[in-house]
Amino acid sequence: MRETHQDFLERWARIVRERPREEWKPIQNAFLNAQYEKAVRFYQRYAEQHGEEAARRLKTGV
């Protein structure tokens, strides 16, 4: 049966709790860095099209 989101959350928390940090931390790092790169690329593209100030407003609402 396919793992649900809830199943994944529980399984991952168990891994973090029970397994050595060296085992799970690189996986999490790769995920976080990929998310970051994706966000950077998006804001850069948006800034190229609409200007840096518009991108800043989009990000912060300021």
Binding site: A13, Q28, A30, N33
Partner: protein, 185 residues
């Protein structure tokens, strides 16, 4: 090379660099989502939340200048007096590395007895692998379950409960929840 990339992540590095500037000048805590993420929670964020003790204007100016010196900039303004006015009117201000959009450190001053309580009881959390002051796990769970309550926040709280299973002080969680009900709801 792949391994070297995965040895650290951008959020940890950003927090460590920012905190290194704040630490000598002000009492602070990191709160909310990053607490769960630094305990392995698998979700992205662009914002990290920091609560600062209420500073005198001169001290804040020193802090702002030190942050600028270290390569950070405030998104709302480059003028320390203006930023200080935001903070004293309980508006959060955002710092990024100069010329970037993400990640952001969202900084606010302690605004009530609940924030003072969090600052007073701040802790370092070895499981995070970071030499950084956090609000306690119990406090974070209480905020997420009693005040914030979005699906993401409830999943953060559930993650912290699983990681710290058998080690949590439930009376402390209830004490903070009572404070939240009295001061924030």
């Amino acid at each position: 090379m792949e391994r070297a990339v995965a040895d650290t992540n951008i959020l940890d590095t950003f927090v460590k660099d920012f905190v290194a500037v704040v630490e000598p000048l002000a009492r602070y805590i990191i709160v909310s989502g990053f607490v769960a993420i630094s305990h392995g929670r698998m979700r992205g964020t662009e914002d990290i939340d920091m609560i600062l003790e209420r500073l005198e204007k001169d001290t804040f100016k020193k802090l702002h200048e030190a942050l600028v010196q270290a390569g950070f900039e405030c998104v709302q303004s480059s003028d320390a007096t203006t930023i200080y006015e935001y903070l004293t009117s309980n508006t959060a201000v955002r710092y990024v590395r100069k010329g970037t959009f993400v990640p952001e450190m969202e900084v606010k001053f302690a605004k009530d007895a609940l924030d003072d309580d969090q600052l007073k009881r701040r802790v370092k959390l070895p499981l995070s692998g970071l030499d950084v002051w956090f609000s306690s796990i119990e406090t974070n769970i209480a905020f997420k379950e009693e005040l914030l309550k979005s699906p993401k926040d409830l999943e953060d709280a559930a993650h912290l409960r699983r990681v710290y299973e058998g080690e949590l002080d439930e009376e402390e969680i209830e004490r903070v929840k009572a404070l939240i009900r009295r001061l924030r709801l």
